[in-house]
Symmetry: C2
Subunit: 347 residues, 2 copies
């Protein structure tokens, strides 16, 4: 690699130049930025003007090196196939970047399997290795983890490493409770109450019982509330069109369906139509979960549960920065309510 030319420093206004322009020492400029109350008002004004005029911004690398604060939060992106992206990711990331920005923090994205060098050995896709790399290089002040699984190995790892972290999704009882999550069960219970209020007595559920905690919580919330209200709850054996059609042909034909996601609600739509029935309050009512753009493109438009992504992101960033500042980490997680958005498919 011919490494001849030294990269010309782009524009690169330094604190020194600002100091000269304002007729003060560079220390005063630093104070004006980091502790304005310690600078005489008129001096502050003069410095501020010079800063604005020269378009000065402190070099973040220098600042980080000196102060230790990276002003950057790492977000470990889920390892999805690009063609089957986590529907959460886009909307949540935007909210996270905004929430971080409001606190003067940037968001650094990273994924497992990012060997900084050429070592693509085994375990290259281990999220723990990716975390270690980021932390060891001191590129972030803290981490945000999403899609927390039961006994997620990442949690114990970050706790052991000692890096500040928060999670979108609750952690296990033996683990640090630095989590924020939506009330999946309560939201699904609200769905059940909504359907019950419409007069439905037999409600079908479409979703997986499996190991994904948020899915398990939705199912539990459904079953609990249906039981409480004395409704007849019927579960599709599999979350697909064929299984739903079978329910619709059975003796206990549900008059409404709650789906664990918007995409699954789409399967319900297909099944209902295939059985010659119609989706809607007059026919078979249907609800989804996530409130993706899909909901408004369906006919009838799909009732769904909207996640409070901005509130979640704000809470996560707040709790993370508390830890970064050395304050006591929260003793308990934070559960935020999700909002039921009623549309034509059920109202």
């Amino acid at each position: 690699m011919p490494e001849g030319t030294r990269r010309p420093r782009r524009g690169a206004t330094t604190i020194e130049e600002v100091a000269r322009a304002a007729g003060v020492s560079r220390q005063t400029v630093s104070n004006a930025l980091n502790a304005p109350q310690r600078v005489r008002p008129d001096t502050l004004e003069r410095v501020t003007a010079a800063i604005r005029e020269l378009g000065y911004q402190p070099d973040q690398s220098a600042r980080s090196l000196r102060s230790g604060a990276r002003r950057t939060i790492g977000y470990l992106a889920p390892v999805d196939d690009p063609f089957d992206p986590n529907p959460l990711m886009a909307g949540f990331l935007e909210a996270l970047v905004d929430a971080a920005g409001a606190q003067g923090q940037r968001v650094l994205l990273f994924r497992p399997g990012q060997g900084g060098g050429r070592d693509a050995g085994p375990g290259a896709a281990d999220p723990r290795a990716a975390i270690d790399e980021l932390v060891a290089a001191r590129q972030v002040d803290g981490l945000v983890l999403a899609d927390v699984l039961h006994d997620d190995p990442r949690i114990g790892h970050v706790a052991r490493v000692g890096v500040p972290f928060v999670t979108f999704g609750r952690t296990g009882p033996g683990e640090p409770q630095h989590w924020v999550d939506i009330a999946n069960d309560a939201a699904m219970a609200a769905v059940v109450r909504h359907l019950a209020a419409l007069g439905h007595r037999r409600i079908g559920y479409v979703g997986r019982a499996g190991e994904l905690p948020w899915m398990a919580a939705r199912r539990a919330g459904f079953l609990a509330e249906a039981g409480r209200l004395g409704l007849s709850a019927v579960e599709a054996v599999r979350p697909d069109v064929a299984a739903v059609r079978e329910l619709l042909r059975g003796p206990e034909r549900p008059t409404a369906f709650a789906a664990a996601s918007d995409l699954l609600a789409l399967d319900v739509y297909e099944a209902v139509r295939a059985e010659g029935l119609v989706v809607g309050p007059a026919g078979v009512a249907v609800t989804g979960f996530h409130d993706t753009p899909l909901c408004r493109h369906l006919h009838p438009a799909l009732t769904s549960v909207r996640l409070p992504l901005r509130a979640i992101a704000a809470a996560l960033v707040g709790r993370l920065l508390d830890q970064v500042r050395g304050e006591a980490p929260p003793a308990a997680g934070l559960e935020l309510p999700a909002e039921l958005v009623v549309r034509a498919s059920s109202g």
Copy 2:
């Protein structure tokens, strides 16, 4: 703000400690990392062992400050409502992070309206201000911009600022040609040929003619290829269900529809069914664009155009780093083909 305690340096192995452990000067450790060929093999081995043993990673801030290289790429996220996220974003971002990681680069996400401080004045949502901030703070080596519009003000701005950049989406003739894009028109032409090969002679188009370049290109590709093949091309006056239904009731009833996106294809499905027709090669064939997860959840499954997101990301990162290294920027953009994925809705 009581700023008493100095933050304890996390673990923070330094190059000095590695040097001591390996019995060499810290200079040699640096060489082992940045210019291994200049270190004697046995010394290199000893140093490498010490590095591994201590879990040493160079402090990125110190490295950046000294060398000028940030090893970080900025991605300007589109300003979407979190509840109507750009479907591109998730899958593309993952591909971008991986492509960057393969080159030893991280990805820093940012959005307009991120005042680092408390100045939420007007124009806070101006992407140019956000770019300026990031560049002035020297947090990135270069920028990736997506969703380039006609006469996009961001392009001229980054060119003027002089920061290396590339775009996903082509730039105007008077602007730098640092772009990578998919062949929207060619992909849509392939859709038309596919439908023609199935025997369709009257094909409907559902999409907006508007100012979004990628949408305009798809429409143009459709019209051009239909004309070339002597097909009758009919456009829906608006991209919605009602407009499609009107076409289906009209004298020139199309036997197939090409939609400019998967969500629009969903509207076509609805319209076809509302008219008592059936989607599929035997009834009305339908195609989408993007190949979102939605395609496989539709019945019949939706034929769509898959974007080569990983290839795009790799090309973008490659071209960006070329610029960062001071090599001549590419004189022309790069157009990549998209792949037609045929499913039951048209085959």
